[in-house]
Amino acid sequence: MSTFIQISFSGLATGAIFALAAVGFALLWQTAGAINFAHGEFIALPAVIMLILGEMQPTLGLPDWVPVVGGTAIGGPLPEMGIIVAFVLTIPLAVLVLGWLFKVSLVDRLLTPGGDDIPLVIASLGLALMIREYLRVEFGAAPKQFESVFGNDRWRPGGIPVSADDVGVLVVCVLVILALQLFLRRTSTGRQMEAAAQSPTTARVLGIPVGRMVLYTFAINAVLVTVAALLVAPTTHARWDAGISLSLVAFTAAIIGGFNQVRGALIGGFLVGLLQNWSGYYLSSAYREAIPLLLMILVILWRPQGLFGIAEERRI
């Protein structure tokens, strides 16, 4: 039994990572109709940037009173402080480039209402290639360690290994996604965004600035991928090729959970993490990824709105 709990907890921790990867992808698809095959690279890129910025900390001469955030400080506070500050610095950069620039240069041009999705998908493939190869050449092919903002503490409640990082990622992920859900449902801006997503023409009639709402979506996505990078990189390490598997897992989790509900990505992520671990342990390690994939196929064929999504009216 404790084995089951152990691998389930670990699956949830990994699943939180998957959920973070999935939620931005789902949001873009749901709100802007943009299918972004470069999503994984959008996470890998900020991770590398934060690493570089974080290592640049000492030369920026930050004063000592900048607070240490998160976990237990080990040794000097400098590395952690570096990542936090790097994170704060990276957010506006991400919003500008991965949000605004991406939207304006690619999505607006390629995504016409009622038109083809394909050019944007291809362009995002090209973009993914660009980011990936740039990271490979510029940053090197070897993976680099990425400090966790939650520190390195480990505990063994009831004999089950639990790390501060696991718990931290889980908690933050749930909080972030619930916060996003609240924002979209309860705030006026959020509801306007949802309206703009469901029916742009009607929203315009109602006076909602659709263009701006879509821009907000991209901005939020940029923040989400940066947060995802911060939380994911300690486990996957900062690497040029992290994007590929992150993208795939984002697609799977988003579709299974239901991409038209933000919480769907959360549940989808957890589900994929759990299923992988369970099938890895009880069935076969070789096919641990197969069960989520099969589930994804089944979901698409028989319940395309996802397990927790809301069925949409199909208009012929």
Partner: protein, 408 residues
């Protein structure tokens, strides 16, 4: 966003596009065609070319022929002569070019031919029948492994079954590889082709990943991640020894010409018209009694079958296969090639495949970042020419024709 878009919206968009042509605002397709031409001319002399003079002549002839195509009325005798002459020229070029080339060049050319077969198939499935597929990489792999397993008399052990596989003649192994893919594709297509666009993409993507898992893990059958060495020894077809890369290249070329002819024939036939109807307006096609399911399944399976045949050829071309070569990245490449070349055009796959093989290689003179440049090229092509190179060329031609007629 639902899995289908409203028909009304799509029709409205189409009207807008036509109106744009009339307004003469065709800067982007023109830019794309210009880029393609410039890229051709710029890239030609790159490399240790003793044929530089001939390359320039070639470029000049190309420009001349393109210009003629644009300006001559389609139905005139001149137009028809130019058309068949350019076709004959191309075939002659592909046939004559290998003379005097080195082994590595021939392998590269062979790769172009093999991938072109895959994209011709994908073009049928996606370009003509409108069904996106990200599984061509998987079918390439299935074709490769099936043909190799049947052609070498290997001993296999899988799921409790042990035995020695038969050692079939090479041609038969290729045929079985293609047929296996056709059958498999019908099996998945049957449930999967009900869904539209992005959903079908994800289903085929998942299928590709699953196939990869099987190829990688069933060590007793496929050798798993250790790969299989597939040397071209003892391969004699109709008295021709295929060990020589040059001979093997011609062998693959025959398949490419056959595949192109097959797709050309299908498109010209009543099936082809049904495909066009399906692609342009599935709702209306269904209401007119076009058997949507059968036709799309057919297109999908032919596309997969061609990829399977290509896989069989591919395995012997590079003489080593492992599951990594059939991962989702390969499917992305084929998808990219077909779209950037021009969906729904006969020539699009060739252009697209030349981009993913030749262009990527040629770009290496830019140094370590050459793939970044290629990615940028892809992005630019989508911005400039969402219909692909060939599609934009057609748009350009239509525009010029409309202008000619308006001027009368």
């Amino acid at each position: 966003m639902s899995a289908t878009t409203s028909t009304g919206e799509r029709l409205a968009h189409r009207r807008d596009a036509v109106a744009e042509i009339d307004r003469g605002s065709l800067s982007w397709p023109l830019a794309a065609a210009a880029v393609a031409a410039v890229a051709t001319v710029v890239l030609l002399p790159v490399g240790r070319s003793e044929f530089a003079g001939i390359m320039w002549l070639w470029a000049a002839a190309l420009v001349a022929v393109l210009g003629l195509n644009l300006l001559l009325p389609v139905e005139s005798w001149n137009g028809i002569v130019v058309k068949w002459a350019s076709l004959a020229g191309c075939v002659a070029f592909l046939a004559v070019f290998p003379v005097g080339r080195t082994n590595s060049t021939l392998v590269d050319l062979g790769l172009f031919v093999v991938f072109a077969i895959v994209c011709v198939g994908l073009n049928l499935t996606h370009g003509f029948a409108g069904k996106i597929s990200l599984a061509q990489g998987a079918f390439l792999g299935i074709g490769a492994y099936v043909s190799v397993l049947l052609d070498t008399g290997r001993e296999v052990a899988v799921a409790g079954f042990e035995g020695t596989l038969p050692d079939l003649p090479f041609l038969l192994a290729i045929a079985v590889a293609g047929l296996t893919c056709m059958v498999l594709s019908v099996l998945i297509g049957f449930p999967a082709l009900r869904v539209q666009g992005p959903w079908l993409a994800f289903v085929t993507l998942a299928f590709n990943l699953l196939v990869y898992l099987v190829l990688n893990n069933e060590v007793g059958l496929t050798g798993g991640s250790r790969g299989l060495r597939t040397l071209r020894v003892d391969l004699v077809v109709f008295g021709v020894d295929l060990f020589e890369t040059r001979n093997y290249y011609y062998f693959c070329l025959v398949f490419l010409l056959a595949a192109t002819a097959l797709v050309w024939w299908i498109v010209r036939s009543p099936w082809g018209r049904a495909f066009k109807a399906l692609r342009d307006n599935p709702g209306r096609a269904a209401s007119l009694g076009v058997d949507v399911r059968t036709y799309t399944l057919l297109a999908f399976s032919i596309g997969a079958g061609l990829a399977g045949v290509a896989g069989a050829l591919y395995a012997r071309l590079i003489e080593y296969i492992d599951p990594r070569g059939f991962y989702i990245g390969q499917s992305f490449d084929f998808f990219l090639a077909t779209v950037v070349g021009g969906l729904g055009t006969m020539v699009g796959p060739f252009i697209g495949v030349s981009f993913i093989t030749v262009l990527t290689d040629r770009l290496r003179f830019t140094g370590d970042y050459y793939r970044v440049w290629f990615g940028l090229f892809v992005v630019f092509m989508m911005l400039a020419a969402p219909r692909g190179v060939a599609g934009s060329f057609n748009q350009l031609r239509s525009w010029l024709r409309a202008r000619r007629e308006a001027a009368r």
